[in-house]
């Protein structure tokens, strides 16, 4: 292929007087009148920023093309967030309506972009006007048709219109290389701005701004400059040393040092080395891998390329979860584009380095995210973990040294190479430097995909970013079903602090639980999930977890509770953690052990058939708070099983609840216009269980 051949002449020379003049002008303060910033020379600007001495011509061309699309000089650009989350909320519909407009031909371009992370505002839409202002519109779903005209007018008349949630301004108009180049101009909602303001977007800096299917747009934000820098200026050992110096730790769960892992692979005597990017995330409530791969696939690819260069691998695989069709499509397209541009294949950028990347689809089992099980799946075997050591970095796929990293870890690498390990360490703590993407979910109004420095306090995340009221939050579930459930307090979110309280950062799921959530019931659900996902090799994991689930079902159900139930729970969960072969079994009991440590009184209350959170169906009944009742009869009319009957007379006293007939569907509590029906635990059911208790 012609574009693959590079001669030294086809690189821009930064010493030419023409380029020097451009660099001098970029360094000068921006002029007051808005003027598109020397778009043609964006490559020179980026190369200067990342101290790249020679720019491969193809990269310069791509950067220029991408910059015209990202910051068009005399057109508006509408970016519609159509990642999975946006599409589920109806963004596809809005995108089609807007791109079909004939009057947009000359003055507005419509692009499909990834996800900005504000799940509560989906579908989210960004209108960029040529003066460098970004107008964000939230919840532009099909119900919100009135905002459609505002979007069109904002794009065409380039001014403020009703319905705007947030305005952000490019620090240097005409220069957009990531989220860091935007500053808050005005926040009309009062929370979308706060949500974004407290984050530090490095790895996810392009998510929601660039078109994931466009290689030029990624290059225009500085993409592949780190790779070019590594290939042209750094030796593999230097790249490895830089990653080790940055202190980057695995973002997928274990938190193992990435540099050390690479060193094991690079030190191997086997010349055939393999890189695997793990995008098989299965934790309930965690979707950072999906968001990254869907919104910025090229960053993941660049991370893989750098890892391959540092370790000396010539083949790489991306292991993607079966349930992520959009992410797979995104990656497949990105790999093809990169190959066409000469960034993959033989003789990359004329340096003789060769690499190809393949995609493997996981079969959908949770355990396949475990390193050794993943290698089994890649070889076409049953996804069962193998005992370690030997570790995959010593002897992995087809017995070759295999370096397996989470895609989020790999997405950190281009940033480290571009900016240097020292700058990377500026945020975060000494033991856990850098930023981490968390998926904030649960009982928070502003749920979403957030990136904060490691070591940020939990209160900042939950109260400032998530907008939860501190009084209502009871606990945080960190790290998915193998993490822990810890009481909500002001602790720091970094590897050491979180593991010291018994949880783990894991992949970064952060579920906020308020006072109405029964933790015993939640643990029952999580243990059940892990029991279903156990591969079945180890007796204790397969049958032990099923038994644990059964015990928790007894604890939360109507059955009589044996006296030693909680002691048996503890004993069995300890046995499972001790005797399981892989991380799944060993950590599956973490939610149980942490709740037993911090919320033991809830377990004890369940023994007496009282659910302190008034949530377990078998232990609650519904009552009317007479003070607010207006005698509207709604509850009686809408009860699906006619458990609320009306007696004679007037007032709240005539509502008779038949607790035996009631199925605890919460309909009456939900539809009461005054919120005066509430669930109460204890009392009637407790008596019943006490009578039947013959154990």
């Amino acid at each position: 292929m012609l574009s693959n051949r590079y001669t030294p002449d086809s690189r821009l020379n930064l010493d030419s007087p023409e380029i020097k003049e451009v660099l001098r002008r970029i360094d000068a303060p921006p002029p007051q009148t808005v003027q598109p910033q020397a778009a043609a020379k964006i490559a020179a600007f980026l190369a200067n920023r990342y101290s790249l001495r020679t720019i491969p011509l193809r990269l310069a061309e791509l950067a220029e093309e991408g910059h015209h699309q990202l910051c068009p000089a005399n057109m508006s650009r509408i970016s519609v967030g159509v990642a999975t989350c946006g599409q589920a909320a109806g963004a596809g519909f809005r995108s089609i309506l807007l791109s079909a407009r004939p009057d947009f031909v000359n003055d507005t371009m419509v692009r499909n972009v990834g996800c900005l992370g504000a799940c509560f505002a989906e579908p989210l839409l960004d209108v960029r006007t040529p003066d460098g202002l970004h107008y964000f519109f939230g919840q532009v779903n099909s119900k919100n048709s009135i905002v459609h005209w505002s979007i069109i007018h904002t794009a065409q008349k380039r001014s403020w219109h009703r319905g705007i949630w947030l305005i952000m301004r490019e620090r240097q108009p005409g220069m957009l290389t990531g989220f860091g180049d935007l500053e808050l101009e005005k926040d009309y909602t009062g929370y979308l701005g706060t949500f974004l303001e407290h984050q530090k977007r490095r790895i996810s800096g392009n998510c929601g701004l660039i078109d994931p299917h466009s290689l030029p747009e990624y290059v225009a934000t500085g993409g592949y400059f780190a790779f070019a820098k590594a290939l042209l200026q750094l030796s593999p050992a230097q790249v490895l040393a830089e990653v080790t110096a940055s202190g980057l730790r695995g973002r997928g769960g274990g938190g193992f040092s990435t540099g050390e892992k690479w060193e094991i692979g690079a030190a191997s005597r086997d010349a055939e080395r393999i890189i695997i990017a793990n995008a098989d995330e299965g934790d309930p409530g965690a979707y950072m891998d999906r968001a990254l791969v869907e919104s910025d696939p090229h960053r993941v690819l660049e991370g893989i390329m750098l890892a391959a260069y540092a370790v000396g691998a010539r083949q790489a695989h991306i292991f993607v979860r079966h349930e992520y069709p959009l992410a797979r499509a995104s990656l497949r397209r990105a790999i093809n584009d990169a190959r066409d541009a000469g960034l993959l294949g033989n003789n990359i950028l004329g340096t003789g380095f060769l690499l190809d990347i393949g995609i493997t689809q996981s079969a959908g089992a949770f355990v396949c995210g475990e390193e050794t099980a993943m290698i089994q799946v890649l070889r076409g075997n049953r996804g069962e973990p193998l005992p370690r050591p030997p570790y995959p970095a010593q002897k992995g796929l087809n017995d070759h040294p295999t370096v397996i990293n989470n895609v989020e870890t790999l997405a950190n690498v281009p940033w480290i190479i571009a900016h240097g390990a020292g700058v990377f360490r500026e945020v975060g703590t000494a033991g856990s430097p850098g930023t981490k993407i968390f998926c904030l979910a649960g009982d928070v109004p502003s749920a979403g995909f957030i990136e904060v420095p490691l070591g940020t306090s939990a209160t900042t995340v939950v109260e400032k970013i998530g907008r939860a009221s501190p009084q209502s939050v009871k606990a945080l579930q960190i790290g998915g079903p193998s993490g822990g459930i810890v009481p909500y307090s002001d602790f720091f979110l970094d590897y050491t602090s979180v593991s010291s309280i018994g949880a783990m950062i894991g992949s970064g799921g952060l579920v906020v639980l308020n006072k109405n959530r029964c933790l015993v019931d939640l643990v029952h659900h999580l243990v059940g999930f892990m029991a279903d996902e156990s591969c079945g090799q180890c007796l204790l994991c397969r049958d032990g977890l099923a038994t644990l689930k059964h015990m928790l079902a007894i604890l939360t159900g109507k059955e009589a509770k044996p006296e030693l139930l909680i002691a048996k729970l503890e004993e069995l969960s300890w046995a499972i953690a001790t005797l399981s072969r892989c991380g799944l079994g060993r950590s599956a009991v973490n939610p149980l052990l942490t709740t037993l440590k911090y919320f033991r009184e809830e377990y004890n209350a369940h023994l007496d058939a009282i659910c302190p959170a008034a949530s377990c169906k078998a232990m609650i009944h519904f009552e009317i708070i007479p003070a607010h009742c207006t005698d509207c009869e709604n509850c009686s009319l809408l009860c699906p099983v006619e458990a609320i009957t009306l007696g004679p007379g007037k007032g709240p006293e005539r509502y008779i609840f038949n607790h035996d007939r009631c199925i605890r569907c919460w309909t009456c509590a939900a539809i009461c216009p005054h919120g005066c029906i509430q669930a109460v635990s204890g009392g009637i059911n407790a008596c019943e269980i006490a009578h039947s208790d013959n154990c």
């Binding site: 079945g536 180890c538 032990g544 038994t547 059964h550 048996k568 001790t578």
Partner: protein, 213 residues
Amino acid sequence: MPVKSRIQIIVDGIPLRVEAGVPLLATLKAQDVAIPTLCYHPQWEQQERCSLCIVEVLTAQGIWKAAHACSLYCEPNLVIRVSSDCIHSLRAWAARLLLARGPFRDSAVARTLHDILDAASADPDYQEPPLIWSENRAMPAGCILCGRCITICRKIGKNKLTFLGKGQRLTISYINDHADKAACGKCHACSLVCPTAYIQSNGQAAFSAKLYR
């Protein structure tokens, strides 16, 4: 063949001279140390399937750490013990879970498991609360899913048996190959290695009829 070096390991405080690098469980069995096993086969590599052969290893930090004897190898300065409260408790949990996979055709299996339970509890008349889950299982009673039949079938080159499913849906299944009808039924190798006598005649009869229940 090079002569393996003899090293010393300590079992329950008694030093033993053993060959370096051989599986620990084989050595212990040869020395008549009482360790219950179901899935262990002297000529195969580690199994870790029945979780009965638990021993405790003294770590460098001075902590006793439970491990499967079948997955350990004799190394210099290995210190283990084969009997403690912790070991008995772990074995008892494994035995309870295995018993829930019963009843077994081979009555010796149930006897071994009950012996383990008796060794773990101080009070012989103590009744366990019925907490072990044994419903909704894909695999019929009598098989402990140790996979010895699969291993032997693979080793003799027929490769007709496999694990299917996960969690409580895990089964051992016979893979029917229409081009090769006589592949199963003659060798009876799986029935010879089955520790619970679940396979009476051959793998096809034991496992294929249950595939499409």
